[in-house]
Symmetry: C2
Subunit: 375 residues, 2 copies
DNA sequence: TTTAGCCCTGAATCAACCC
DNA sequence: AGGGTTGATTCAGGGCTAA
């Protein structure tokens, strides 16, 4: 994007006319101005790693005297909380405009800035869904022995509003976590080794994030083909992982050096093939089975007796796939719900039957049916 | 405290005349009014577990239809973020007044409230030292499968200002963590089992905190005899652990039922004896050992050779406890610092020697010396 | 035979969370 | 309205074994 375009984009109020999204490109200049050039409601996810507003004093040395290469870059210095808040409100507001209504936002930060970001985000109408703790396996120790070792950073995940819809790939996360629900604390090493980008021996960026972190974020909260915007692109971890996972990406980055490194990096990245991405699908993708189909297929005879696990209630299957229990008739879900007086009931797991001498939930029969249909 | 006293305390500006602290007492009524009755700069630590402002909607049921017993108490209801912020500013400001200049504040919360608390705390001039993640080993699952399992809560630890002093028992924490620096993520189970207070079969308080959490907080950031104030005392976990650790406590609690349970609980608590508390002392409390004393005691002969771990430098011990390395002479610390060109150097850990065929830091010798002196 | 103690199982519970 | 959606822990009670 040329300077003229940039200036016009910054000066003109946002226009909602459809514009082509700069997919796979890194917009130069200030991220607020850059985001103004994007259409409203055009992006599925924003991932942001803003400056942390670290309040470092002088130099830091290890107990053995060696010097700690800390974050002292000029872009991380803010005069006051007020200045940082103003900056935060501006980029968050623009991110909000650019997001689709059922899009979502991620921000990563440390205790220096995350409380300000979190409060402002709520003030702007974003709705917090989780705060995630990135628990570092190998944090830098506290060399002074004056505080607890700062062994984590925090990510905020927010929808665009309290009632807004959002995407969460529950099954993919559960699969990734060995069939247990993914928790709000993620154990991931800091970025180092081969993954850490270097330029003539020095780290190319002081706060390069591990790809594992972005992998989990994108896998959890985007679909294939979604557009991911990173307003603080740095050396492009978001872009690299997005490309690998078959997501589209847009970056904003002021520093030309970082843009160069990022483009080179993403160039080398190879997308996973279709089949690798498919395996991460939700159970919702399974074909829906009508209870009646089981009766129809002869897996279950009309008149068969169903009962809940504790055998508090029994019901009888009818020819049309409805069931009857006393005065209650209807679907397996409806009768289960009414008998329990519950707000809802999954009949597939609530009702059981004796099958080859064993007590099994109806769901087992459904799986059998699905297997039979597949062949 | 009677209504009249309360009103006067609320109306009158804080007076700095020395007043007797209500140690070991739970002040009734609103915590802001109660704190106003306390003298300025009289408390060493504030630990606060304020309402989380959970903003809960309808009922929550498990997949099996059973009902989840959630926090529905009126004290957790706020009309808006603005109302919650006002409440937070008021109690935090009063806590600030009551704290000694080198006192500190802890607040625990969840993503619903902690970002507001953190930002307000910074606005009031408190200085964040760490944010601590309480990682629950046994969190409640996410029954709807719509988000990540909320498996942690956050604690903020703050001093009264950027330049303010504060207490951190580094050695006690390192000892507690098996000789590794204590990290900012603490793995502690939720409060249950025997520890969970019950009244006629039901939990006495919906959000009782585990004692292990308070144990670590008080051990890390208070000294024996310090005064700990908890403005949201609940069933008195803070008081119970404070008493056990030989700290003084003051509580504020509106609900008479909670006050009764708390007093009964703390009554039963037994303080640890002196010797148990002594073992948790800071290394600073250990008698300081002059390097010369080791020479004097014969643990180290004059002329013995010292070297750094990488054997970049060597030095020789002199009879007076000074060392010499080339042209540099002085204390173990000074020579180490000068040779490295470092701003400072801990000679005890920098210099090594061969001892019984093994390379050991001087510090090992110091420990031997201390053991010998104790007997 | 009695009985203390262990193992197994099922129920309850923990700062809440739909499309 | 159908159809999704729960993990670690404690504790009580039944059955078994060994002293």
């Amino acid at each position: 994007m040329g300077t003229l375009t940039k200036i016009r984009a910054a000066a003109a109020p946002a226009v909602d006319e459809p514009r082509e999204l700069p997919l796979g490109r890194i917009l130069p200049g200030d991220c607020v101005a850059a985001m103004r050039s994007l259409p409203t409601a055009s992006v599925d996810l924003v991932f942001a790693d803003p400056p942390y507003n670290l309040q470092l004093g002088g130099d830091l040395n290890r107990p053995d005297g060696s010097h700690v290469d800390a974050v002292t870059d000029h872009w991380d210095q803010f005069a006051s909380f007020a200045a940082y808040d103003k900056f935060t409100r501006e980029w968050l507001a623009e991110a909000r405009r650019v997001l689709k209504p059922d899009g979502a936002l991620w921000v990563i930060g440390s205790y220096h800035n995350i409380y300000r970001v979190g409060a402002i985000l709520q003030d702007l109408g974003f709705w917090l869904l989780n705060d995630i703790v990135w628990r570092k396996t190998n944090p830098m120790p506290n060399f002074r022995g004056t505080r607890f070792t700062n062994a984590h950073e925090t990510l905020l995940w927010a929808s665009t509003g309290e009632k807004a819809r959002y995407h969460f790939n529950y099954r993919a996360m559960k699969t990734l976590n060995d069939e247990l629900q993914m928790r709000s604390d993620w154990v991931i090493p800091v970025c180092g080794g081969q993954e850490r980008l270097k330029e003539n021996g020095h780290k190319a960026h002081p706060t390069q994030k591990p790809e594992a972190l972005l992998y989990r974020v994108l896998l959890a909260t985007t679909e294939k083909g979604d557009v991911v915007l990173d307003p603080f692109f740095g050396t492009g971890t978001t872009g690299a992982v997005a490309k690998r996972l078959g997501r589209q990406w847009i970056g904003c980055e002021r520093e030309e050096g970082y843009r160069k490194v990022a483009l080179k990096r993403i160039e080398k990245e190879l997308p996973l093939d279709e089949s690798a991405l498919e395996t991460m699908q939700s159970r919702k993708g399974q074909p829906r089975v009508a209870f009646g189909a089981l009766v129809e297929a002869g897996l279950l005879a009309p008149g068969a007796e169903l009962f809940d696990r504790q055998r508090r209630w029994t019901a009888s299957v009818r020819a049309d796939g409805s069931i009857i229990s006393g005065a209650e008739t209807g679907s397996i879900h409806h009768v289960g719900k009414t008998l329990q007086g519950a707000p809802s009931c999954n009949g597939w797991t609530f009702w059981h039957l004796e099958h080859e001498g064993e007590v099994k939930p109806l769901d087992a029969l459904r799986q059998l049916y699905l297997l039979a249909v597949e062949d």
